[in-house]
């Protein structure tokens, strides 16, 4: 039973998504309950899967019995299982948060909305598990198509943002596919494990370098790396309030995970092509992204826009950790990825509650909320501590291990970039808090209303998770060090 878990985890949301338009034809309100039930089962089975992988080793799953070079292989190893627990838990939280707010905004499209969310979840499971480059492409595209539709579902400005995302995202997917076909032309295989054995003799091939560059640009667009980040802020700002937490916390991070898989598991990460270390390049791009993203965030007035740029800068910090080529930096990067996903979800939950309950869109508006919304302000303080990276939160320990890894590798530029981006993050959170706590009698109070229970739940759980990731960072980092490291680190 337990060796079928990868397939079950994927098929559960997929079948629920396919059957939902039929099942919920007459009873629209069932769609919410079905998705919560399916995602709860998914969280439980992903935790069970992680438990199995930690205790009994990784699970290799081949579809319909076609063995490795011929068939498609999925591997549930430590990294995939840890990230999958995160993906399913944040997906469930996002749907629970959606519950009460979406019906007004979406009207009759509620069934399609939940169908798309479940489809997105199943494709994310596929990206996390896939050990086949083309399979990865298909799931990246399914995830992207579901995100385009989810962003555009509310209409208005979101339509135009979704269209831009579609154009850029498809360009990224085409470049990734081009890279895959280059690698296929050189090696004659698509399976990652099979490709590893054939690559060492081909390191001087120009097609290999070309393929790697195209794949990197393609995935860079998907993960919102800085020169290719143009679609992110608008898409996350104008997307429905209920969907931006799921998109911001999961889609870009999982694309980044796919890139980590390719450089560490397929290519030997320390390989040097034409005198350039690819990991050094990744580290430099990450440093640029972390500083530029945080500076752009500092210039924003719209809070969702500001949080979106914050997320872009954190993608850079994760890449700095990944790019150090030692186990400390790698573990720090993965730990920061977990933290960042939770923090992005928390930030967009906050922005959603602030808009739905108090009509807050910009930083100035936040001043009207201040003292009458303890839940909002309290969780904003916790998330702020996490984003800046102060000790009791998980953000601190993530940055700590990344900096330790960079010092170990002697990369002082990376250390400076992490510190600079931390200072800039502090800058935009100070701006936000200043606006909340400043006495401004001229501004009338926002119409206060009780925050729905599910929103409090989402805010409370994410804030608690940020603290727990910090307080229990030692066992989590030990788990990551033991289970998630790539073969040669």
């Amino acid at each position: 039973m337990s060796h079928q878990l990868p397939a079950i985890l994927f098929l559960l949301p997929l079948f629920a998504a396919i059957s939902m338009p039929v099942v919920c034809l007459k009873h629209r309100h069932w769609s919410y309950r079905i998705s919560v039930a399916v995602l709860t089962v998914m969280v439980l089975s992903s935790v069970f899967n992680l438990h199995n992988v930690v205790n009994y080793g990784e699970v290799r799953y081949v579809f319909s019995g076609w063995t490795v070079p011929l068939g498609i292989e999925w591997v549930a190893d430590g990294l995939a299982s840890v990230v999958l627990v995160l993906v399913s838990a944040l997906g469930l939280l996002g749907v629970v948060f959606t519950g009460p707010t979406s019906p007004q905004a979406l009207g009759g499209r509620i069934v399609h909305y939940y169908t798309l969310i479940l489809l997105l979840m199943s494709s994310l499971v596929g990206i996390v598990f896939a050990r086949d480059l083309f399979n990865l492409f298909v799931f990246l595209e399914v995830a992207a198509i579901a995100s385009y539709a989810l962003i555009g579902v509310a209409g208005g400005r979101a339509l135009f943002a979704a269209f831009r995302y579609l154009i850029l995202g498809t360009l990224g997917a085409s470049l990734y596919l081009l890279g895959v076909s280059y690698l296929y032309a050189v090696t004659g295989t698509l399976n990652m494990t099979d490709m590893v054995e054939r690559l060492p003799m081909l390191l001087n091939s120009k097609a290999l370098v070309g393929g790697l560059v195209f794949m990197f640009i393609g995935l860079g667009i998907k993960m919102a790396l800085v020169p290719f980040h143009a679609w992110v802020p608008e898409a996350y700002t104008y997307a429905p309030d209920s969907i931006s937490p799921i998109l911001a916390s999961l889609v870009t991070k999982v694309a980044l995970l796919a890139w980590v898989r390719i450089i560490y598991w397929v290519f030997d990460a320390s390989m040097v092509i034409y005198g350039i270390q690819i990991l050094l390049l990744v580290g430099i791009l990450g440093a640029l992204a972390s500083v530029i993203g945080a500076s752009l965030a500092l210039a924003q007035r719209d809070i969702k826009m500001m949080f979106a740029y914050g997320g872009i800068s954190h993608i850079g910090i994760i890449l700095i950790g990944i790019g150090q080529d030692n186990s400390t930096g790698f573990t720090g990067g993965i730990f920061y990825l977990l933290n960042d996903a939770v923090m992005q979800a928390a930030l967009f939950f906050l922005a959603g509650v602030a808009f739905c309950q108090y009509g807050v869109r910009t930083i100035e508006d936040m001043g009207r909320v201040g003292k009458q919304a303890p839940w909002l302000t309290g969780s904003l303080i916790v998330v702020g501590l996490g984003m800046v990276g102060l000790p009791p939160t998980g953000g601190f320990f993530g940055k700590w291990y990344i900096i330790l890894g960079a010092l170990e590798a002697g990369n002082y530029l990376s250390v400076a970039a992490v510190l600079l981006s931390t200072l800039l993050t502090l800058g935009y959170f100070v701006k936000l808090f200043e606006s909340i706590f400043r006495q401004s009698p001229a501004q009338p109070d926002a119409p206060s209303g009780e925050i729905p229970f599910s929103c409090k739940l989402a805010l409370g759980i994410t804030s608690a998770a940020i603290m727990i990731l910090g307080l229990f960072s030692a066992p989590i980092v030990r788990l990551l060090l033991n289970e998630t490291l790539p073969p040669h680190l």
Partner: protein
């Protein structure tokens, strides 16, 4: 230089791929009409599929069904089925993306009454 040029012109398929890809990319970047952007996007996708077909084409090969079960298999006489499967899947993915893109275009036209990017930005 002459060597490089002759190497390029001996592979007309790859030249065609580069031309179609860049043409599509140019249309995506320079045109303001959203449907034209989608056409450019479709050209880019098609060019990649064309590349995939070009690298896997084989002269004198037949369908990948064994002609005889007694003789040893001659790999050179059968076409490789994998790239065809990849191409089919990539076409399906491309059609799905274009479908979503056209649906978004329709919704944008109903909302803003125009498909011109500049006019839409004015109205935002």
């Amino acid at each position: 230089m002459v060597d490089a040029l002759s190497a390029v012109f001996q592979r007309p398929n790859f030249l065609a791929f580069v031309v179609i890809f860049l043409w599509g990319f140019y249309i995506m970047v320079t045109r303001y009409n959203l449907v034209k952007k989608l056409i450019g996007m479709y050209l880019v996708q098609t060019s990649v599929i064309f590349f995939l077909v070009s690298i896997s084409a084989k002269k004198g090969a037949t369908v990948p069904v064994l002609l005889s079960t007694t003789e040893p298999v001659q790999a050179a006489s059968y076409a490789n089925p994998l790239p065809h499967v990849l191409t089919l899947t990539a076409i399906v993915v491309g059609v799905a993306t274009t479908g979503v893109g056209l649906a978004l275009c329709g919704a944008i036209y109903r909302k803003y009454g125009s498909l011109d990017e500049e006019k839409i930005i004015e109205k935002l």
